[in-house]
Symmetry: C2
Subunit: 424 residues, 2 copies
């Protein structure tokens, strides 16, 4: 950081400001802005993680060779701290997020879990971070996904060239491990039948099934990853919807920091869907097979391909984590959980089996033997209600539709009335 | 669009809202949400470009084979229009940007140039779009950059695996064509010595040299691209700083729509550096070698890896394009141009040769025979003023430092005083 040194006030000209006053360390600046040739290529500021000792646990995931090609750090990671104090305007912020917000996220969502501010990368949303993580991993890794799952994992994998062609007969891409999640297995995959992959995308509470994995299940998942040297990308975007004692973070599981990344979002708690604010936790303990910290490479991706979440959105996020903000978010979650109950009661009263809902804003409704798209079309055409066809989330979603609780109460009630009319 | 049909009001449940009223076309929905297997895989909504006729000009840039693997469109591109009318809150917006903002950008910056609203993709900034464009192109393309140039082009190329290793002796990555830009060639490369690449990154007015290419030079560049079947990624982030009659958009050059993408930003006009708002123009006329429209694939990238710029930032961007907003932006640009003059006068009075500045907020100061990092350190240590070492932008920047005009007037004046003291 430009603030690391305690020198005389300096007039700085970063990429965004010619002159502003701030304490400045030439040594830190020179080290982090080291030109590629002829000088050491260590970017001290990148992530403050100690070099991995030989005894540290290492995953078996190879570091992306392209990341290793990069010389030193990105030219402009340093920002004069004074930018955020003169006239109150921050200009370009730290690509990793405002320090206060990173601290508030760590304190609010990861108390006593050993997650530090520096492990948290504020982003413009989980979806964007999933693609940045794929760029981080590169094209030579293999992935596993829950089946069904949020489509961004599979699609971003295809775009990065990690997969084979789409196989029409099984409705799957080659070289992706689809971990089937069904009512029969409690929507948790039978890991004894799952092949080893480099990366495991795991969303809990799950979109679309609404199922939250239990502590016991997540303990198995972490052990599975550790045994295989895999990295879990844990999507906890709906964690605040958990009502029972299921973990709200993968890092509640001992040892998870050595095998997991967690990505999260303000979208579903604070009505921030269009505001674009989320975060990703990359613990310093997570290492590629060569011992290189994953966080160092992710930081380089974030500095190169991103310029931080909008400062306005970050200010809003900080407000969300105040006592008043947290209460407001809990109220929002509570409201949607009431919607969820209305939807559950509606389908249950009509004789359908429904899943999810308890720990998530999604109701996963079973139409055994029917084509998801046909059910979707039937509900749309006859009741003018839009659901989402389950098979859009993978072949494991066939025969289901996902019903979302995000909506105005009057509309939920009206939809319930029409559904009761349709399926009475 | 969900609004394409004129049916009865429907209750919709997109991913973000269970119920809301909007006219809805089942046919459009089903076509764009087509499940992968057994049905046509055309995503009609993707980009409204007609199929390329055989007579259309095609670049020689191969389509990223990974993009061709993707089945249909992303599951959630459709948004009920009503989301933006009920209670005034938009929720998830169109990934491509709010319609009004796209229209305003087209009308303000591309009048009479044949650029339509649908060609414009609103983003969270040019830097982010550069990386998304690299993901679009994939790892099997070659690139050219101005030398010196903004580091994001080269770094993102390395990350995507388009390059060879870094070559310490020449301070260049393998498989990147560095187009040398010097005072001797007027900071426009000698194209007769430039090898053909798939993609040409070209920034004008340039960061860091401050040079804006003339109409004649850009005409040569477009012809060069067309002769080679290359795609130009034209970075016009500083276009509003142009004072002379240099083109402000590559699309002022006839034929450019068949060979160029343009990426732009609000950051440097509206003090939006931390707000994160920009846009990229991908004309429907731009085709891969197989005739596939580049815009269709870019739209898929944007839908999969991005969820739109923050709606707050977009509202701000729209305000910037009002008559009052445009005047305010011109005032901001004028203020920084005055700063630029102070910096130019300072160095000129001290006997230095300076370049750029006329059409850009950057002054490119020559220290012949000296190492950029040594000059940077000297100015920092002795005057407490931070510049940016030219060689950080590529080997062609050696012997220069970039001085930025972005700053408060008092600080610019104080920096000028100190520089005069240092180099008197």
């Amino acid at each position: 950081m430009a603030t690391a040194g305690a020198g005389a006030p300096a007039i700085t000209a970063s990429s965004s400001s010619f002159v502003s006053y701030s304490p400045f360390s030439l040594r830190a600046w020179r080290t982090s802005h080291r030109q590629p040739a002829g000088r050491a290529s260590v970017n001290v500021r990148c992530v403050s993680s100690p070099p991995a000792a030989d005894t540290s646990y290492k995953t078996k995931v190879p570091r992306n060779a392209n990341m290793a090609k990069l010389q030193a750090g990105y030219l402009f990671p340093e920002r004069a701290h004074a930018l955020s104090t003169i006239d109150g305007y921050s200009g370009y912020g730290a690509e990793q997020g405002e320090k206060k917000l990173r601290s508030a996220i760590a304190a609010t969502y990861y108390p006593d879990l050993g997650i530090e501010d520096a492990d948290i990368f504020v982003s413009d949303g989980a979806k964007c971070d999933i693609s940045r993580l794929q760029v981080l991993f590169g094209s030579n890794v293999s992935i596993a996904v829950q089946d069904p799952s949020y489509p961004a994992y599979v699609d971003s994998s295809v775009i990065m060239g990690q997969t084979g062609l789409y196989q029409q007969d099984v409705q799957k891409y080659g070289n992706i491990e689809y971990m089937r999640c069904t009512p029969e297995n409690g929507f948790f995959p039978d890991l004894s039948t799952v092949a080893r992959t480099d990366v495991i995308f795991f969303c809990s509470p799950n979109n679309p099934t609404g199922a939250a994995a239990s502590r016991d299940q997540l303990t198995k998942l972490v052990k599975f990853a550790k045994d295989n040297g895999s990295i879990i990308v844990y999507d906890s975007a709906y964690a605040m919807y958990i009502s029972d004692d299921s973990p709200k973070s993968i890092f509640e599981i001992p040892g998870a920091k050595e095998v997991a990344i967690e990505t999260a979002s303000f979208s579903k708690y604070a009505g921030f869907t269009g505001v674009r604010l989320g975060w990703t936790v990359v613990p310093k303990e997570l290492l590629f097979s060569d011992g290189h910290p994953v966080a160092k490479d992710f930081n380089r991706i974030v500095c190169t391909s991103f310029n931080g979440a909008s400062n306005i959105a970050q200010a809003g996020g900080l407000a969300c984590l105040s006592p008043e903000g947290l209460k407001a978010m809990r109220d929002v979650v509570g409201f949607y959980k009431e919607n969820t109950e209305i939807i559950v009661d509606t389908f249950t009263s009509l004789g359908f089996n429904v899943y999810g809902a308890k720990n998530a804003p999604y109701v996963w409704v079973h139409f055994p033997g029917r084509n998801s798209w046909d059910v979707f079309a039937e509900i749309l055409e006859k009741a003018n209600v839009v659901t989402t066809p389950g098979s859009g989330f993978g072949p494991g979603g066939e025969g289901f539709v996902r019903v979302s609780a995000f909506g105005h109460r009057d509309n939920i009630i009206e939809a319930a009335r029409r559904l009761k009319q349709l399926y009475k």
